[in-house]
């Protein structure tokens, strides 16, 4: 797949990426704002995500409820999500509705319309989101929300709960909303990505038409969120009153995804060797052979993708198992597999992992909104949207570093181990 990639930058600082693929009459738009959980100060936990909800509450020329009606009424879908380093909004629509999506995104970048009533309404909705995904759900939020980040990181920016406390959410005011918008939702702090059936020049012209008159203002300087190296293994446990069986997470600090991209790519390979699917070493050992666990998997930054965060971030190996008494045996088995990888991996063992990662990457790009979202992350954080088509080459090139990275970054001193104890009826 070799879509044509064009980039541009408007006078107000808005960056534009267009990935043209005319094979189907479908187009997607993604808007990445360079703000996420990490930018929340103490007392404002959960605010970036709450703000994402508020961006759907109406804007200068769109009453509350109109954006969903217009986008879905064109035959399209939309959503938004918040990550440590970004807040992302996207639409995927019939190709003819591109202008409509750009109009909606531009209108709320220009002036969201947020009232006391809408703010109170969405605080209530976000609390229900937290109840359904965390408080009323066995294993809810484990280990990404409140378990690994405070063990792996020492600064508030990196360690706090990105969904937020109910107290902080209740304390959010319209002044906070305005200040947050003014600081972080400047055109110069955003990327608009279009993927699919849109000719490059026409698409860039349409972005210019809709976003060009949004006044430019300075993008906020991004502070350093860097942390020192871990001084040794950290451990914690907590009881989940709803979980019938325990779970275990091993979180590893990882190389800088951007500044040390080659080693980061090698980390992705190590994680896949260990825990990506039923051919992985840990599945074979913990699940199939030793029967210590029901399943094992790898999560990036505790979430979905290895390619959405800047430094510092982490990898979590998550294990569900029947009995707390097995914890030490599982950790020892993980260490043994890591040592084996550190001792040297043959090309013939890496080739299948590369083949698997390549297919998984293509599978992700099967939908146009996923393509727009990933290319948008690469533009936002690296200025390299074409990386979305070159990832497999970079992973392949990192193969010689696998042993070194396994030895250095997957050592016990560089990790946190968190056990979720079963407090629910088995």
């Amino acid at each position: 797949m070799g879509a044509e990639v064009e980039t541009s930058i408007l006078a107000n600082g808005l960056r534009v990426v267009v990935l043209t693929d005319m094979s189907a009459p479908v187009v997607a738009v993604a808007v990445h704002y360079d703000v996420g959980f990490r930018s929340e100060p103490p007392g404002s936990t959960g605010f970036a995500h709450l703000f994402e909800h508020l961006m759907f509450q109406g804007s200068e020329r769109l009453a509350k409820g109109e954006l969903p009606r217009l986008i879905q009424g064109s035959g399209g879908i939309f959503n938004g999500f918040t990550r440590p380093d970004a807040t992302v909004y996207f639409e995927q629509l019939p190709a003819g509705a591109l202008e409509l999506a750009l109009f909606c995104e531009a209108d709320r970048m220009r002036a969201p319309r947020i009232t006391e009533e809408n703010l109170a309404n969405q605080i209530a909705v976000v609390k229900e989101e937290i109840r359904v995904n965390v408080l009323n759900q066995p294993y809810g939020g484990f280990p990404w929300l409140t378990d690994l980040p405070p063990l792996l990181f020492d600064t508030f920016a990196n360690a706090h709960n990105g969904y937020g406390s109910f107290e902080d959410l209740d304390g959010a005011s319209l002044e906070d909303v305005q200040r947050f918008f003014d600081s972080y939702y400047a055109p110069a702090n955003a990327v608009v990505t279009i993927a699919g059936a849109a000719a490059p020049d026409a698409a860039i012209g349409a972005v210019e038409r809709h976003f060009g008159d949004i006044p430019g203002r300075r993008a906020p300087a991004r502070p350093s969120f860097a942390e020192g190296v871990l001084d040794g293994e950290r451990r914690a446990e907590r009881v989940d009153a709803l979980a019938p069986l325990p779970a275990l997470a091993l979180g590893y600090r990882v190389p800088d995804p951007i500044g040390d991209e080659e080693r980061y790519c090698a980390t992705v390979l190590v994680a896949s060797l260990l825990a990506n699917g039923s051919a992985s070493r840990l599945f074979d050992r913990l699940v199939r052979r030793d029967r210590l666990a029901a399943d094992v998997g790898a999560m990036w930054g505790g979430l979905d993708s290895a390619w959405t965060s800047r430094d510092p971030t982490y990898l979590a190996l998550v294990v569900h198992y029947p009995d707390e008494g097995l914890t030490d045996r599982i950790v020892s088995a993980v260490d043994a597999e890591i040592e084996a990888i550190a001792a040297g991996i043959s090309v013939s063992e890496l080739e299948p992992v590369l083949a698997q990662l390549t297919s998984e990457h293509w599978m992700q790009l099967d939908s146009k909104y996923a393509l727009a979202v990933q290319a948008g992350f690469f533009e936002q954080q690296r200025g390299r949207p074409r990386l979305v088509f070159e990832l497999a080459d970079h992973l392949t090139a990192a193969a010689p570093l696998v042993g070194e990275v396994a030895a250095e970054w997957f050592a016990p001193r560089n990790r946190a181990v968190c056990t979720l104890l079963a407090g629910g009826a088995p």
Binding site: I77, A243, Q356, M363
Partner: protein, 448 residues
């Protein structure tokens, strides 16, 4: 510089169109229907093999759960570990699961590896060895899954509604106990496979960057070693008897729950019924999209819930119209009152012309976009052909949607969304929610 943004809201453009393209549709000599379509946006191919299992009986959920896992645990030719390595070596992935309608094998991988993927699928479905040394481990994994599912209120609520909508039928699918999973022997799995996993009546869908005719030919070859089976086939699954409506509210007690899981449902027309497109639009306007009445009321006006939704639960032999909302414990009765009010309003007055148009374009657009994605198209076509429909159903469905006006949609709503015909289940803390719920309806409380 620019000339200023356009003041008006842009037109949504042409009506979304569904273009299926060339379809290859044939049967292998052993009776497997193979349907293949080319989609080339990424260099992959997706396969969905579905095998009807016949009537599995109301309490055989254990065998269904174990069957999928044990198929991947080893074949006559290789161990589970060797199979996983063979799949990974070519960059593919394979999964297997079973429900009351089908055994489903899902595979994907590089398009250039289609023949090898087909051969692996054929090996898995035709010659699993149910290795003795893996049965105990897989049984234990399923037992743990069952325990986790029993603790998940969302799963408990959905299953409680199924029990009401499909009483005594395999679709009710009660959660097996961990003990019954641990008791299941290898012999019963071997027999289950021999009796029920047969090519006749099975369907295979192939979508990807492949020539459809070549794919169909390759499938015939790769599945050629699948024995057609000796002895009589298992009896076919019969349609569930019509479910009477349970009056009142069934509360499944979950002490200390911070939310209540509300489920409302009624049996309804399925895809084979001419009224299905009209019902789909009624459900979409009611609660099948973000711009629906259910979302506008429960979420955007009242803040009672995060993601309420309504939809059609499409089983092969019986569909159900269902509504779901996970709401704060303290607003349980208020939320149920609002849902029933919206149901009654929809059942008595139908949809507005604006709602009709929005829902029609939304449903058509979603199908059109899915048909442009390899994985999504494979999933849609797998459902259709397993349901004895042709791929062209997608185009027919879109045409029928385009022709509907508000009257048939109102009729569909009156038939399937009238609260008087629907069953209500609430999973939540009975000690807190029953008093308020009793102001709406009779309440019956059961343990979880």
């Amino acid at each position: 510089m620019t000339t200023g943004a356009p003041r008006g809201v842009p037109d949504p453009g042409p009506y979304p169109s569904i273009v299926l393209g060339d379809v290859s549709d044939a049967r292998t000599k052993d009776g497997v229907r193979v349907v293949a379509v080319r989609r080339s946006q990424v260099p992959l191919v997706h396969l969905r093999l579905q095998v009807p299992l016949g009537d599995v009986g109301p309490r055989d959920g254990t065998a269904l759960r174990l069957l999928g896992k044990m198929l991947l645990a080893g074949t006559g030719g290789r161990s589970g570990s060797e199979m996983a390595a063979a799949v990974q070596r070519i960059g593919a992935s394979v999964d297997a699961s079973a429900d009351a309608d089908h055994l489903s094998l899902t595979a994907s991988g590089p398009a250039g590896r289609l023949v090898e993927i087909l051969e692996l699928l054929g090996e898995i479905v035709a010659s699993p060895s149910f290795p003795r040394d893996q049965v105990e481990g897989e049984r234990e994994r399923v037992a743990q899954e069952v325990l986790q599912e029993a603790s998940d209120p969302v799963a408990v609520a959905t299953r409680a509604l199924w029990g009401e909508l499909y009483p005594g039928h395999p679709y009710a699918d009660p959660l097996p106990s961990a003990a019954s999973v641990r008791r299941t022997g290898r012999t019963s799995l071997v027999r289950f496979h021999a009796e029920r996993v047969r090519p006749a009546g099975s369907t295979l869908v192939v979508v990807g960057d492949v020539d459809p005719d070549v794919a169909v030919g390759a499938a015939g070859g790769a599945l050629g070693g699948w024995p057609s089976g000796s002895g009589a086939a298992a009896p076919a699954l019969g349609s569930p008897r019509p479910a009477g409506r349970r009056s009142g509210i069934l509360v499944v007690h979950r002490p200390g729950a911070v939310q209540s899981n509300i489920r409302i449902g009624a049996r309804c027309e399925g895809r084979h019924d001419p009224a299905f497109p009209a019902l789909m639009l009624a459900m979409t306007a009611f609660g099948g999209s973000f711009s629906s009445r259910l979302v506008a009321n429960l979420r955007e006006r009242n803040g009672y819930t995060y993601s309420p939704r309504a939809g059609i639960d499409e089983r092969r032999l019986a569909a159900a119209a269902t509504v779901r909302a996970e709401v704060s414990t303290d607003v349980t009765a208020k939320a149920l009152a609002e849902i029933r009010y919206e149901l009654a309003r929809m059942a008595t007055a139908g949809v507005t012309p604006e709602e009709l148009e929005t829902s029609r374009r939304y449903v058509t657009g979603v199908v059109a976009m899915a048909s442009a994605s390899q994985a999504a198209l494979a999933g849609m076509l797998a459902d259709l052909v397993a349901d004895d429909l042709d791929p062209s159903y997608l185009e027919v469905f879109a045409r029928e949607l385009a022709e509907l006006d508000t009257e048939p949609v109102a009729k569909a709503a009156a038939r399937s969304l009238a609260p008087v015909g629907m069953t209500t289940v609430v999973v939540g803390d009975a000690d807190v929610v029953v008093d308020a719920l009793s102001t709406l309806d009779h309440v019956q409380v059961v343990g979880s």
